[in-house]
């Protein structure tokens, strides 16, 4: 039987409450370009991977892809979105 791999995207961003100088820099420059009404900008990174077993991606995040002391992650599959244990997808971000 063929192994079916799944395209997974992992979004990693600075944890809430941690100063994000990159996000701040982007937030400051947008109004100068005429984009008003922008707040809470955060810059993170995207890891894309094809995996045979989607259940391994959480442990991958915990061990390597994210540093959970300073970062939170979201795992996006074609079916669902799973986030770091302590962060809900709709949690307000400062």
């Amino acid at each position: 039987m063929d192994v079916v791999s799944t395209r997974v995207r992992v979004l990693i961003r600075p944890k809430e409450g941690i100063l994000d100088p990159q996000g701040k820099a982007v937030e400051r420059v947008l109004p100068a370009l005429g984009f008003q009404g922008v707040a809470n900008v955060h810059v993170g990174r995207l890891v894309e991977l094809d995996v045979n077993d989607v259940s391994q991606v959480g442990p991958m995040c915990e061990k390597l892809l994210a540093n959970t002391l300073i970062e939170e992650y979201s795992i996006l599959t074609p079916e669902a979105e799973e986030t770091s244990p302590d962060v809900g997808p709709d949690a307000p971000r400062g």
Partner: protein, 224 residues
């Protein structure tokens, strides 16, 4: 490597792809003891009594600074060595590696101004009774260069007793929590700092204050 110090102590200096300060670290160690480079792919610590994880950009700093180096074969041995009480010093990228490995508390975030900064800074010796500062006086100021972009130390709920070095007033350019420059583990055998003592061991470069970190380790190594 020939040396000018105590023959009974041997330093092992790690070398990763992307390390750039391992030669200076080797020369600094060799001023106080015996010293040898240890390749990242080799698990053998070659009988070293103390380990230095040097600065640079191990594995290109891919993913996060230190995140990949932390899983290298040599680091497996260093983690075991540290758990057995062996002395481990992490400088700059080495500090990042030790934090990623969980040998030191906290993490290093991008500098508050986002820029790479290279400048001479003064560090205050907060704790002069550690294995890494026993050749310093309490409150002594060490003039040592710092050069990094990801050096903002962050450690929620840090035990203040673990702070070994602090940036002197006006010298903390990276936004580190409580202006902390160097921190140790609870057992006291692992220490990390962002500034580079290995670049301050020869009068030619303006300061020899960094030498006291290496001579302290050599002294502690003899005592062990």
């Amino acid at each position: 490597m020939p040396h000018g110090g105590d023959r009974s102590v041997k330093f092992g200096v790690l070398q990763f792809p992307g390390s750039c300060d391992e030669r200076d670290a080797l020369l600094a160690c060799a001023k106080v003891a015996d010293a040898e480079l240890l390749w990242h792919g080799d698990r053998d610590l070659k009988g070293a009594d103390a380990i230095v994880v040097p600065g640079g950009f191990s594995y290109g700093d891919y993913l996060r600074a230190g995140a990949i180096a932390r899983f290298s074969p040599v680091m497996e041995s260093v983690i075991e060595f540290a758990h057995d009480g062996g002395l481990v010093l992490g400088i700059c990228n080495g500090f990042q590696v030790l934090c990623e490995a969980g040998l030191l508390p906290g993490a290093l975030l991008p500098n508050v101004e986002r820029r790479f900064v290279c400048r001479q800074v003064d560090l205050e010796v907060v704790d002069a009774e550690t294995a890494f500062t026993n050749r310093c006086a309490p409150g002594e100021l060490l003039s040592i260069p710092a050069k990094h972009q990801t050096g903002r130390f962050y450690a929620p709920d840090l035990d203040p007793d673990l702070v070994v070095l602090r940036y002197a007033t006006g010298h903390c350019f990276n936004g580190s929590q409580d202006e902390i420059a160097g921190v140790r583990n609870a057992a006291g055998n692992v220490f990390g700092l962002m500034p580079h003592p290995e670049h301050a061991v020869d009068p030619l470069t303006g300061s020899v204050d960094g030498l006291s970190i290496f001579s302290s380790m050599a002294h502690a190594g003899v005592a062990v």
